[in-house]
Amino acid sequence: MEGNTNKVTSVWAKVLIYIALSLGAIVMLFPFIFMILTSLKTYSESIAVPPKIFPSIAQFDNYKTAMEMAPFDIYFKNTVISAVGNTILTIFVTIFAAFAFTRYKFFGSNTIFTLLLATMMVPGEMLIIQNYQTVSALGWIDTFKGLIIPYIANVFYIFLLRQYFMQIPEQLYKAAKIDGCSDWKYLWKIMIPNTISAIVTIAILNFIASWNAFLWPLLITNKDNMRVLTIGLTHFTNESGSQVHLQMAAATIIIIPVVIIYLFLQKYIISGVTRGGLKG
């Protein structure tokens, strides 16, 4: 609807736009298509020169073989537990913090908020050295606690949700107070239901980020039964050598769940990213 006066009207221009966008789409999709097609090839098909684009018979057994060569079911379970656990805790922490900043005038609240925003400038990569030692001192190496806890307070999400919370009219709070509603109840009955789409957006973005996390899990998981998918995959590719068809099956296992979530919840993901991006 916006910018409709900027629309292209001529048929030829439209055709050219479609051609250009389609070529671009092929470039963007090609690695995914290659991944899925190769995951269904036999070994000899996967390294044929010139390459065969399609497998003659889809080898679904590749997935089974890959799962037998490395415990992808365990990696999968670990990834689900840490991504879901991280997301649930992050949401609670975010909601509470955003509520504190919107509802209460407490000593130093503005200063604390500014300091929290300032921590966004600190590159996470800088903190991993000491955090590794902290987690190790706590005995959290190779545990879900170690994978999850350090990353449940996200300043950007707190900032985002605070913006939404602030849009809820103050009168609602006063009305609720007159009805004898406690702050806790007000949070759950008014604030959260009214900002649920923002909370869902944050949850999805956080879930995808922790599903794809790599550097931190790489540091703090050593045991095979605690590895997550991204780490399991890199070990698997090193061990499986040139068996590209199996590697692609393993990569598909990691990528497909998020792609499915993405296809269903695109609206939330894109709006979350643009809100985060344009804030700058």
Binding site: V93, A100, V122, L127, I129, P150, F214, M248
Partner: protein
């Protein structure tokens, strides 16, 4: 009497607000203090140690010698050079492509949503997983990239084995994986431009290229600026891409060393914690400087509505 009651009520509210405010904020404060503030302080202390024993966790000497070592380390210099190359090549190239795609997506065609969904896909996928896919696309013998170039008579390129070519493989992968975010941000920037500007231009019969250079581009300048800054900061943090493309090595003959790779390698690979800390302080300072430039310049140069 009445006044006194009011006063004590107000004090009660203040105490209650202080108590509840901190109570709700407590999880955030604890986590931030333990996993952001404390490690930040410790990194600074660690970086200034001249010697550090990883096993006894004892640091000795206090000074700048570790910074001197890191800044003179050829690996670290390579990391900075690579970042520089990514900044001058990948950042502008990916910005131009992303802007072009965003303009096409914004031209009012019907399938725009479908294309948008496709273009944004790399953003949600694991860099590690898709990076391994790309490492096969770059394969010198049966990778599709060399096959495609072969159609134009190009001899097979040793993308991942030749130290001179490896950085270009990294840059190509970097451009591809960074497009998604930039396209979405550009598109949203384009859609935020007030349509009245275009209406006015249409009434005046302004030619299309002039509409673009006089209206679209200036009004998009905050977006361009924001993406430039975030891409430059991102270039200093490239790590997963390298790990995936080169199977856990910083490229052939360390040719794709990056700042974060250096930090991680110093820490985990060679247990030189103080050197890793010094490198991470340098990274922090670089990011602070870039962010500072952003703040100053955005006030002076960028058009905001």
């Amino acid at each position: 009497m009445k006044k006194k009651a009011n006063l004590s009520n107000a004090t009660k509210t203040t105490i209650k607000h202080n108590f509840l405010g901190y109570l709700y904020l407590l999880p955030t404060l604890i986590i931030t203090l333990v996993f952001v503030v404390y490690p930040l302080i410790m990194s600074f202390r660690m970086g200034f140690y001249e010697k550090y024993n990883y096993y006894t966790e004892v640091g000795t000497g206090f000074g700048l010698s570790t910074f001197k070592f890191v800044l003179n380390d050829p690996s670290f210099q390579k990391a900075l050079m690579n970042t520089f190359l990514i900044v001058i090549v990948a950042v502008p190239v990916s910005m131009i492509i992303a802007l072009a795609i965003a303009l096409l997506l914004n031209a009012g065609i019907k399938a725009s949503k479908v294309f948008q969904a496709i273009y944004f896909l790399p953003y949600v996928t694991s860099v590690i997983a898709i990076g391994i896919v790309w490492s096969w696309l770059f394969h010198s013998d049966f990778g599709y990239i060399n096959q495609f170039l072969g159609l134009f008579g190009v001899e097979p390129i040793q993308w991942l084995n030749d130290p001179k070519m490896a950085i270009w493989a990294l840059i190509i992968f970097n451009i591809w994986s960074g497009l998604a975010f930039k396209i979405v941000i550009f598109l949203s920037g384009l859609q935020n431009i007030d349509p009245q500007y275009y209406k006015a231009a249409q009434i005046d019969g302004t030619p299309k290229w002039k509409v673009f250079s006089r209206i679209t581009l200036p009004l998009l300048s905050p977006t361009v600026f924001f993406l430039t800054i975030t891409s430059i900061i991102g270039s200093f943090k490239v790590y997963n891409e390298v790990f995936a493309l080169f199977g856990g090595k910083p490229g052939p003959a360390n040719s794709c060393m990056t700042v974060v790779y250096y930090i991680y390698d110093m820490f985990y690979g060679s247990s030189q914690v103080h050197k890793a800390a010094a490198a991470s302080i340098i990274l922090f300072v670089i990011i602070l400087i870039i962010t500072g430039i952003q703040m100053v310049l955005s006030k002076k140069l960028v058009h905001y509505k």
